[in-house]
Symmetry: C2
Subunit: 356 residues, 2 copies
């Protein structure tokens, strides 16, 4: 279905039709020229040779200080997705199941499927503000549960787990000695405070990315923070697969961290304004939705079959992702606010019109 939508978008664009692409989670901002210049300098300084499969010492050191861990606990990866792929491959190699709150980013499910792990979805709903109920988690855990994946802030709901809810989930994981993989890709540009999984004791793993905070999606750089033994296994897997993240990309990442406060504040404010605008428009429609705690998404629910609705919307010049891409959420659809306010306004008014 996603394929059908993106094919239709491409076809219409090739025919010269403008499409407002609420379907893609790729920030419209350019990567900061300072970050680009750091990469350029590194390339021209000859940082074009093989590097360490664990990542460059300087970047690992910087991240270790940020997260109060040792450099040995940091592995630089070509995107947070690779970090997730690698962790799931390593932790589930002898089978078992993974618990993931749903709605969920489809990659978690596809990676679990690829490694032959059973995926157990923990159903959440809009009515309870997308809370992750501990009692449901307790029922899903069994002796073969090897991993719980949390996405905090969450794609597609843009909710940040409240501290009490997260606390309960971590306690349950710890009781059962199950690691939590916390994907905190959107944490640094969240509108509200996000408690990191690293705030708790336990065998937990963090993945993060430079993609969203710094508008660096296409650069492919992220990182994992994990115990030393699993870090060593991940480095060995990197050695036989992706080899290393380019050193010039890692230099760009170091520059990004130097500029993190200013860039993340700017990103947060841009998306806060966009989210406020979007909520204002959608609140005048029959659509139900929760206030986003973080960029970039809204996941409204309507009296629609979102697959049919999405196909119809494309003909009106607007692309969205049907909720079925994130689990059993046929009445929902996802809107990504990765475009200027003017386009958001135009696009949402078209959606509002269709929902009337």
């Amino acid at each position: 279905m996603l394929y059908e939508i993106s094919e239709k978008v491409i076809r219409l664009q090739n025919e010269g039709k403008a499409i407002i692409k609420f379907n893609v989670g790729d920030p419209d901002q350019a990567t900061s020229p300072d970050i680009i210049n750091a990469a350029v300098k590194a390339m021209r300084d000859g940082k074009t040779k093989y590097g360490s499969s664990a990542g460059d010492a300087k970047l690992r050191q910087w991240l270790a200080e940020m997260y109060a861990v040792r450099p040995d606990n940091v592995v630089i990866t070509p995107g947070s997705k690779w970090a997730i792929f690698a962790m799931v491959s390593l932790l589930l190699k002898n089978g078992g199941n993974i618990i993931v709150p749903s709605p969920h980013w489809s990659s978690y499910a596809l990676i679990a499927h690829h490694v032959g792990a059973e995926l157990r979805l923990l159903k959440r709903d809009l009515e309870s503000e997308w809370e992750t109920p501990p009692e449901t988690l307790r029922r899903l855990i069994d002796a073969k549960t090897r991993l719980i994946i949390l996405n905090n802030p969450d794609n597609p709901t843009s909710k940040v787990m409240d501290s009490r809810n997260l606390e309960a989930i971590v306690e349950l994981a710890n009781e059962n000695q199950i690691p939590i993989l916390s994907d905190e890709t959107y944490a640094d540009i969240s509108f509200v405070k996000v408690r990191s999984i690293l705030d708790w004791e336990g065998p937990h793993l963090l993945v993060h990315s430079f993609s969203k905070t710094f508008a660096m999606t296409g650069w492919r750089i992220g990182f994992a923070i994990l115990d030393r033994e699993l870090a060593e296994q991940m480095v060995k897997l990197n050695q036989i697969s992706i080899s290393n993240v380019p050193l010039f990309t890692q230099e760009a990442a170091v520059k990004a961290l130097e500029l993190k406060d200013a860039i993340s504040r700017e990103m947060r404010e841009v998306y806060r304004r966009r989210a406020a605008l979007a909520c204002r428009i959608l609140s005048k429609t029959p659509l139900q939705f929760t206030q986003p705690d973080a960029p970039f998404y809204l996941f409204p629910k309507g009296d629609v079959d979102s697959e049919a609705f999405a196909l119809k919307l494309i003909d009106k010049g607007v692309a969205v992702v049907p909720g079925t891409a994130f689990g059993e959420y046929r009445s929902h659809f996802r809107i990504s606010l990765t475009m200027p306010e003017e386009s958001i306004q135009t696009g949402l008014e078209i959606i509002a019109e269709e929902c009337r």
Copy 2:
């Protein structure tokens, strides 16, 4: 053992000692400024967003024309190693065995091990000029053989398979309907003509890299040429793991292809001179070796235990890789000529002295 050697090299370097590093297959040349400039322009033009998991259309088209295939048969990968990892993961997911002529690049064995495939080594020897005997291959093939990996030109022997030998191997593979994965990473800078696996009919796969031809090892870009069905599977695997090779890197690769004739000619000549120099020096020692057909390596055999020999050499300021890193070749060691002639001369004279 490799780890022990590289740790020792790092320790001595940190102590301020100069080491002639014959142990690393990373060309000493800089990436061409024209290639770097193409990447810089692309970055500044905003090619920093998500791209296709199959690769950018322009680069795929160019490679398709070079290899007389369709763009659908080309997948751009973060290094040829990723292409090999992905293919082996896909073709061996239900078990089976892989046949690899030995001595062999250690990554083939580590990848096979990672995916749980049985590795069957086809033993070659210096005395028969590293020929790959078809009769030995025939004995190794059984109903569970899913893949044959050839490295042509070969690391560590730097031999190019002669056309008659390759023909016999392909015939045997075709009789048994076994795909050959031909890793032709060193083909474009070979001193002698290399027949590509694509010259033959059959379900064969090619992997190639920009690393060696263009001194782009750290950029992480390579490609696979394969049948459309497997290409689609590889794209799906890319989608859930590495996502895409950065678009600016792909622009650099397009520029590299534009300059391929001049750059590969220059690289070939530099390494031809280095190889001639190295052979001249080594021919005055008791070491046995075959003439290299391609960059970068020599794989001499001596009356030594190469692990002890390698450790001893480091204390003299020279690092080599013991033959045991490439299979059961304890009397051999690998020398990589990725440094200026002056260093090659100094380093090989130290080795010659130790072999006396």
